[in-house]
């Protein structure tokens, strides 16, 4: 789902290559921090007894908007992976399947959360009839999402480790 291992930031020999590498690193950095914020937000939103209902609902709505941005940033990967689905091996298919399941699960979770909202929607002046169906969907998809999120993250652990190493090296001023 990610653009691949981050490239070295500086190359003095070839300015266009160096510029391209800088762009890749900048994009990797954006992806890394944005995804980290998404993970933290989801973890907080899931911990209902820690956040309380109001924060839970607002975090969920924010997560919905952030999910749209996350998907948009990685849409090229989605299209590429879908096209290559038949040609590639089991691991790529598994990653694609996990991503698809996570998309469906998280979308339904956020949608059902909005439909059963007790604080956020009434604050916006919207009231919807309560539904046991959407409550059950919210519970089931929340649990499924809790399982799929760490799997989705861990499947990209090499990319995460690579970018984290680079960011740490950059902060400490080591040439990489």
């Amino acid at each position: 789902m990610n653009p691949g291992p981050a490239t070295r930031e500086s190359s003095v020999t070839d300015p266009p290559v160096a510029a391209a590498r800088r762009r890749v690193l900048a994009r990797s950095r954006i992806d890394f921090w944005f995804d980290a914020v998404l993970l933290v937000t989801f973890t907080l939103a899931y911990s209902l007894r820690f956040t309380g209902i109001a924060t839970h609902e607002w975090l969920g709505i924010g997560l919905g908007a952030a999910l749209l941005v996350h998907l948009t940033l990685h849409w090229d990967w989605v299209v590429r992976a879908t096209r290559r689905l038949l040609r590639r091996g089991g691991r790529e298919r598994f990653i694609w399947l996990v991503t698809l399941l996570l998309l469906v699960s998280m979308t339904l979770c956020i949608m059902s959360g909005i439909l059963i909202s007790q604080v956020a929607l009434p604050e916006l002046g919207i009231t919807l009839p309560a539904s046991s169906f959407w409550r059950d969907v919210h519970g089931t998809t929340a649990t499924l999402t809790l399982i799929l999120v760490p799997v989705h993250v861990a499947l990209d652990w090499r990319w995460i480790a690579g970018v984290a190493r680079r960011l740490a090296a950059r902060r400490s001023g080591e040439p990489r």
Binding site: T43, L44, Y46, S47, L48, R49, F50, T51, G52, I53, A54, T55, H56, L68, L71, T72, L73, W75, D76, R91, L103, V104, T107, L108, M111, S112, I116, S117, Q118, V119, P129, A130, S131, S132, F133, W134, R135, D136, V137, H138, G139, T140, A142, T143, L146, I147, V149, P150, V151, V153, A154, L155, W157
Partner: protein, 121 residues
């Protein structure tokens, strides 16, 4: 421009999932609040109990927490240190699952590398 094009594709995909979800609800007949969980969750139900939850201490039936049970959530804004164990539990579940996936991934890579080396030898 490309961002907007991708965003519209994403919005279309998400809308399709939402549409399927609504169809599912319609087929299930669960659009609005009848059913056994009517009084247990996120607000008023029209099913058995037909009760509005006291707003300050809503009882949530969200599947997380005790399985199929009711968990209590405060309705005030801000984080509650008293519920930190809930957060820690979530983090532990995520960490454990991620660790399992990484361990399987590393083992699988090693196995594949050994297979390749054996094949080339």
């Amino acid at each position: 421009m490309k961002f907007l094009r991708n965003l519209s594709a994403v919005v279309f995909t998400v809308a399709a999932i939402i549409g399927l979800g609504l169809l599912w609800a319609h087929a299930y007949g669960g659009g609005t609040g009848t059913g056994p969980g009517g009084a247990a969750g996120h607000g008023a139900g029209t099913g058995p109990g037909n009760g509005r939850i006291p707003p300050r201490v809503p009882l949530m039936r969200l599947g997380h927490g005790k399985a199929a049970g009711l968990i209590q959530a405060h309705s005030s804004g801000g984080f509650q240190i008293a519920g930190a164990s809930n957060l820690i539990r979530t983090i532990l579940i995520e960490a454990a699952l991620a660790a399992v996936v990484i361990a399987v991934s590393v083992t699988w890579r090693r196995y594949r590398r050994q297979q390749r080396m054996a094949a080339s030898a």
